[in-house]
Every structure is written in structure tokens, then in C-alpha cells.
């Protein structure tokens, strides 16, 4: 046991003295969360909008007012004629133009019918779609405020409610994703590199000629990275709760234990990688290609798995991150308990046991 702790201590020295790597390891979750939370978001906020108001009456200015106070739009430009529409789009100044025809208020009051035109910049279809949906919702809201006074005989109201994420915040889906990604990277890549480094530096030769047992070496190598990964989990959770307002609805203890489980799965993967390679570069390449890519692409957090062709759907089952992503979403966002994630948890446990067994079996007690 003393030997084991000496090894763990030595491993901590390695990590602690390589300040640059340590900084990257601990800084990565912070930057990732901040980048995903504020920069790389597919939510639309404060989109620049132009107003082309031919009516200029009470109703139209009320609508314009309603649009510009919403957090989605920012009415920056006021146009006076159709001739200005194309140049404004060409300059890329605005994403959408709200056109209100003449006699808007009059038509509404007397003809019971008003027309509004929304012109969107379709060069980015997703943004255009989202903007027109938001604008339609605001206009609908505006309309219902008017019709409240006059009772119409028939009306079907669609009342849409987004369960678990009423505001459709992107953070709800990327926080679990980033967590999977970072745990995978720190645990798998760093452990594999740490072990291969011993081979490269020749220290493995001496370690092998010592009474240390392979099992002990492997576990001792993995423990510091496990602790580091748990620090990262804590950082991510703190940031998402206090900076991004993503709630932890389920049990925190359950969430942390699942995080620990996934960390161990990733460590086992890292150990396996290290046992089949001899150079740090190869270990890094395998980790990036073999883990990073599937984790981002096939875990379901960037692209929905249901829309993928069948072979990819089948392949995604082999990606541990897919199961972890689903577990975190269920616990954190939906607030459900173990009874809803036991299947995924069992799959992860199975993968971990398999990978660990394989990597200990593959750990060479000799040089070749």
C-alpha cells in the first residue's frame, strides 16, 4: 500500500510541475462553458432589425414598440421606402425587416384584418427561421391583446409548453455535452499520455524491474486524473448553475456518482490506448480521433442521433459519452432519479469493467 501511495504522490508531482498542462486541464472546462454559453450559441438574441412603417399610427407604433422591447430583437434602423430594403440586407446590417403597410390600424379596426410582412435574411436559414418564429409569436401576442376586447365566436388557441426547458435555452443541452467531452479528454487522453510517457522516457523499464504489480501501476496512474476530472465536474456544475442559470433538478449526489462512473470509463479507455501505443503522439492522435470525434458527433449532443442513418445509430451505442449524456440530461435537466437511468448506468458499468479488464490484461510485464 505504501508503494502504491508513493506512486500516486509521484504522479501528482508530474502533474503539478507541468504547470502549462495543468493550466489547460483546469482551464478547459471554464473556457468551454464560457464559449458555449456566450459565444457559440444557436439561440438568437438582440438581432438587428429594421422597421419599414408606412402606417405610422397608434397600432403600428404599438407593435414596433413590442418588438423592440423583446430581448430577441433590436430595432436599429428605420427605413422609409422599399428601395432601401435590398441595400440594408446587402450591407448585412439587419437580419430581418418588419414591414407594416398603410392604414394598419384602420384595417384592423374596420376590416378585422391586418397584414404584416416579415423579410428575413435567408442566407442563414436557421437564424431566419428562428427569427420569423419569434416575430410571429410576438405578433400573435400583440393580436391576442387586441382581440381580448372583442369576443370571437370560434377560436383554437395552441398553447405550447416546452417541458424541462421552457425558454429553450441551449445551455440545457450543451452543459451535459461539455461535461462528457471534458471528462473524456482529461481522463482518457491525459492518462494514456502519462503512461506512454513512461515508456518513452525509459522509466517504464525500471518500473517493470521493480516488485510493483501491473495492476497497482495502472491504478496509481489513473487516480490523480480521476481527482482532477472530479474537480472539473465541480467546476462545470458550479459554472452552469451560477453563470448560465442551468438548474440541477435531480439529486446532486447521483449526478456526481454518475460523473465518477463515466470518469472511470474514460480512464479505462485511456489505459487501453496506452497499452497499445509506444509514443505520446500516437496516444494523443488515437485519443483525439478515436474519442473526441465520436464524443462530439455520436453522443447526440450536437446532432440528434434519431436523424442519423442506421449504421451510425448502431455505432453510437458503442460511444460511452452517448449514455453519459443521456444520464446527465435525465438527472440534471429532467430531475429524474436512478430508476430512469439504471439502464444507461448498467451499460456504462459494463463498458468500464470490460475496458479495465482488457487494459490490465494487455499491460505488458515485459518490454515486448
Amino acid at each position: 500500500m505504501k508503494q502504491f501511495f508513493a506512486f500516486v504522490k509521484k504522479e501528482f508531482f508530474h502533474i503539478w510541475r507541468d504547470k502549462r498542462t495543468l493550466f489547460i486541464l483546469l482551464g478547459m472546462p471554464i473556457t468551454q462553458i464560457i464559449i458555449f454559453g456566450f459565444a457559440l450559441t444557436n439561440e438568437v438574441k438582440n438581432s438587428k432589425m429594421a422597421i419599414l412603417d408606412f402606417s405610422k399610427d397608434a397600432a403600428s407604433s404599438q407593435l414596433v414598440q413590442k418588438m423592440s422591447v423583446s430581448k430577441y430583437f433590436d430595432a436599429t434602423t428605420v427605413l422609409t421606402s422599399y428601395q432601401e430594403v435590398l441595400p440594408v440586407f446587402k450591407k448585412g446590417k439587419v437580419k430581418m425587416i418588419l414591414v407594416i403597410p398603410q392604414h394598419f390600424a384602420n384595417d384592423l379596426q374596420h376590416g378585422n384584418q391586418g397584414h404584416i410582412q416579415l423579410i428575413c435574411d435567408g442566407s442563414d436559414p436557421n437564424v431566419a427561421n428562428t427569427l420569423s418564429t419569434y416575430a410571429s409569436a410576438i405578433i400573435k401576442d400583440f393580436q391576442s391583446a387586441i382581440v381580448k376586447e372583442q369576443k370571437l365566436p370560434y377560436r383554437i388557441e395552441t398553447d405550447i409548453r416546452m417541458m424541462y426547458n421552457p425558454e429553450l435555452k441551449g445551455a440545457y443541452s450543451f452543459v451535459p455535452g461539455v461535461m462528457a467531452l471534458i471528462l473524456m479528454l482529461t481522463s482518457a487522453m491525459m492518462t494514456s499520455i502519462a503512461i506512454v510517457k513512461e515508456k518513452e522516457m525509459g522509466t517504464m523499464e525500471i518500473i517493470l524491474v521493480s516488485p510493483l504489480r501491473p495492476f497497482g501501476v495502472v491504478i496509481a496512474k489513473a487516480i490523480p486524473y480521476m481527482i482532477l476530472s472530479m474537480v472539473n465536474v465541480a467546476t462545470i456544475l458550479l459554472l452552469s448553475v451560477y453563470v448560465l442559470d442551468v438548474p440541477i433538478r435531480g439529486s446532486l449526489l447521483l449526478l456526481l456518482s454518475e460523473g465518477l462512473l463515466f470518469t472511470i470509463t474514460s480512464l479505462a479507455l485511456g489505459l487501453l490506448i496506452s497499452s497499445i501505443t509506444d509514443s505520446q503522439q500516437v496516444a494523443m492522435l488515437i485519443s483525439l480521433m478515436g474519442l473526441f470525434l465520436p464524443t462530439t458527433v455520436l453522443s447526440g449532443y450536437m446532432f440528434p442521433i434519431e436523424n442519423m442513418p442506421l449504421p451510425l445509430q448502431v455505432m453510437s451505442n458503442l460511444v460511452p459519452a452517448k449514455w453519459f449524456y443521456s444520464i446527465v440530461k435525465t438527472i440534471m435537466i429532467k430531475g429524474l432519479g436512478l430508476s430512469y437511468v439504471w439502464k444507461e448506468t448498467l451499460i456504462l458499468i459494463g463498458m468500464t469493467v470490460f475496458l479495465f479488464g482488457l487494459s490490465i490484461k494487455k499491460f505488458k510485464t515485459r518490454l515486448s
Binding site: 508530474h14 525500471i206 524491474v209 516488485p211 518490454l367
Partner: protein
């Protein structure tokens, strides 16, 4: 001389060990039926040029590699079957500096002490002489030490668990002359404490410090004997030759049919003649015929390097 029947006096027995590597598509024979015995407390040297199989042999003995055929034992334990026991009894210092460069001198030493289930204080007397020389730098990281100090630290780490057999792979390669001398003095002191030492070196001059040496080339052992005995086996007359134009001298000597071999040795060429008839005068006359100036010729007794060159040439034929 070691008698193979006196088993309790024998520390290392190597019996017909062969090892082949696959390099790309061709096979390279690293070890070719190597056999020798080392008695307890002996300082046994393995001398040979780069690529002669020294490192492979040590890796087989330290249980890091499996031999293709043959068997070996250390302190009575089989290197394949009892590798776990052997790993406890062995002190091994690989050819490349293999300590943790980002740990300090003291941390390295205490790490290796702990993984071998001992402590620095427990075996301090064994490493005291060596460790005292690097102790002033114990807070320094191992990667920042000079070559000689690195080797001293590596030796300390290999010794810290009081091994009964010490295997050192080219411990003095890349170390300055003063440190090399110190290093060999340390080995003599360790030997005096009863530790069996196997050491490999590419330097011929170091071979004479061993109790016995094995000359190795192309995976084969050419000769095993006491250093001075090996020299006595050298039967042919040997001359040191020097002239003004050294390069053409080498070419001329090699062309001369009376010369068996000629190689540089310091500022002289050592010339081995095929027969005893050709004396000092014969060489001088021959060189004068070829317009050499400042000719200097005198007979010398063979040293270990000459013996090695002769043995190497013999094995080539």
C-alpha cells in the same frame, strides 16, 4: 576461474541464449547462443561495439525480454519462471537515463526506495559514498543534472534496495573522463561489499578494470577471460607506427601483404604483422621505399583493445 559445478558460488548462469528481432522484413540476430557464468561478488564486464547485443542480453537477464531459446538463472532463480522473485533481487540501470526528470534528486531516490519496499535510511550505508557526492544538489530536478551526476543518481536508485546482483548497461557512456574513473572506483567498492556486478561498456580501457570480461560482437561472445589473460592470447607481433602523413600511411599499410591488420590507436597506428620475421627494420625499410618521412616504429605488447580487434578480425574470416 568459475567452476560450473560450484553452484552456490555462482550468481548468474547464462546458457545458450538466442534472441532474434524482426526489423521491418529482415531478421536480426541480437543474441546468438550466448553462454557464460558469473560467480558471486564478481565484477563481470561485457565489452563490445554498439549493436553487438549487450543491451539485449541485459534485457533478457533483467526479465524485460524473453529469449527465443536457451535459459538463464540469477541467484538460482529461472529468469522466465521466477521473474517476480528476480525483479526483487536485481538492481538495474538501463543505458539511457531513466529516472524522472521532473522530480528532484531526493524525490527520485525516495520513490525508488519506496517501490522496492525500503527507505533511504535503511540502506544508506550502501549508497553513502555515492550519494554524498550528489547530496548538495538533492533539491535539484534530475533533468537538470550533469551527465556524471545523473549516472551517480541512477546508480543510487539501482542500489537503494540492496540488490544481490547489479546490472549496469553502459553506465559510463557520455560521461566525462574524471566521472568515469570515479564511477569505476564506486563499482570496485560495491564489489567489495559482495554484490555481483554485470557491466557493459563500449570502452576498451574500462574492460581492464573488470575481474573478467566477455568480448561480444554481432550477438556472439568471442572470448571470456581475465583482461590480462586475454592479452596473453594475442600471439602475433604488434607494432606502433607513426609517420608524417598519417592518412596515406594507413592506406599503404593496409595494401602491404605482410600486414595482417592496421588500425588507429591514439596518435599511432597499431600494425599486426602476419609473421615474426618482419621486425622493426623491415617496416621502416618498406615505408622508406614509399617515401614516408619522420617514421617511428616500435614494438608494443597487446592491450585489451588490440586483443579485441584481433578477435573481431578472426570472427570475420
Amino acid at each position: 576461474m568459475v567452476k560450473s559445478n560450484s553452484n552456490n558460488m555462482t550468481s548468474v548462469i547464462v546458457n545458450n541464449i538466442s534472441k532474434k528481432y524482426k526489423v521491418e522484413k529482415s531478421q536480426v540476430t541480437a543474441l546468438n547462443t550466448v553462454s557464460f557464468e558469473v560467480s558471486k561478488g564478481e565484477l563481470f564486464g561485457i565489452v563490445g561495439p554498439d549493436g553487438s547485443g549487450k543491451t539485449s542480453l541485459f534485457r533478457v537477464l533483467t526479465t524485460l525480454l524473453l529469449a527465443d531459446s536457451g535459459n538463464a538463472s540469477i541467484e538460482g532463480y529461472d529468469i522466465v519462471k521466477d521473474y517476480k522473485i528476480i525483479r526483487k533481487k536485481l538492481g538495474y540501470m538501463p543505458g539511457r537515463f531513466s529516472l524522472y526528470q521532473d522530480l528532484t534528486v531526493e524525490e527520485n531516490l525516495s520513490f525508488f526506495a519506496t517501490i522496492f519496499n525500503t527507505s533511504i535510511t535503511e540502506n544508506y550505508d550502501l549508497i553513502k559514498d555515492i550519494y554524498q557526492q550528489i547530496e548538495p544538489f538533492k533539491e535539484r530536478r534530475a533533468g537538470k543534472l550533469s551527465g556524471g551526476m545523473k549516472q551517480k543518481l541512477a546508480l543510487c536508485c539501482a542500489l537503494i534496495h540492496k540488490p544481490s546482483v547489479l546490472i549496469l548497461d553502459e553506465p559510463t557512456t557520455g560521461v566525462d573522463a574524471v566521472s568515469r574513473k570515479e564511477f569505476w572506483e564506486m563499482l570496485q567498492r560495491l564489489k567489495a561489499q559482495g554484490i555481483t556486478i554485470l557491466v557493459s561498456t563500449p570502452y576498451m580501457d574500462e574492460a581492464s578494470m573488470c575481474d573478467r570480461v566477455a568480448l561480444m560482437q554481432n550477438g556472439k561472445i568471442l572470448a571470456i577471460d581475465k583482461p590480462d589473460q586475454i592479452n596473453q592470447q594475442f600471439s602475433k607481433p604488434l607494432w606502433a607506427v607513426k609517420a608524417a602523413s598519417m592518412y596515406s600511411l594507413l592506406k599503404t599499410c593496409k595494401k602491404w601483404e605482410a600486414v595482417e591488420s592496421c588500425y588507429s590507436f591514439g596518435e599511432y597506428y597499431h600494425v599486426v604483422m602476419k609473421s615474426n620475421i618482419n621486425g622493426e627494420e623491415a617496416i621502416k625499410t618498406y615505408l622508406l621505399q614509399h617515401q614516408f618521412l619522420d617514421i617511428e616504429v616500435h614494438q608494443i605488447t597487446a592491450n585489451i583493445e588490440d586483443s579485441f580487434m584481433a578477435l573481431m578480425n578472426k570472427s570475420h574470416d
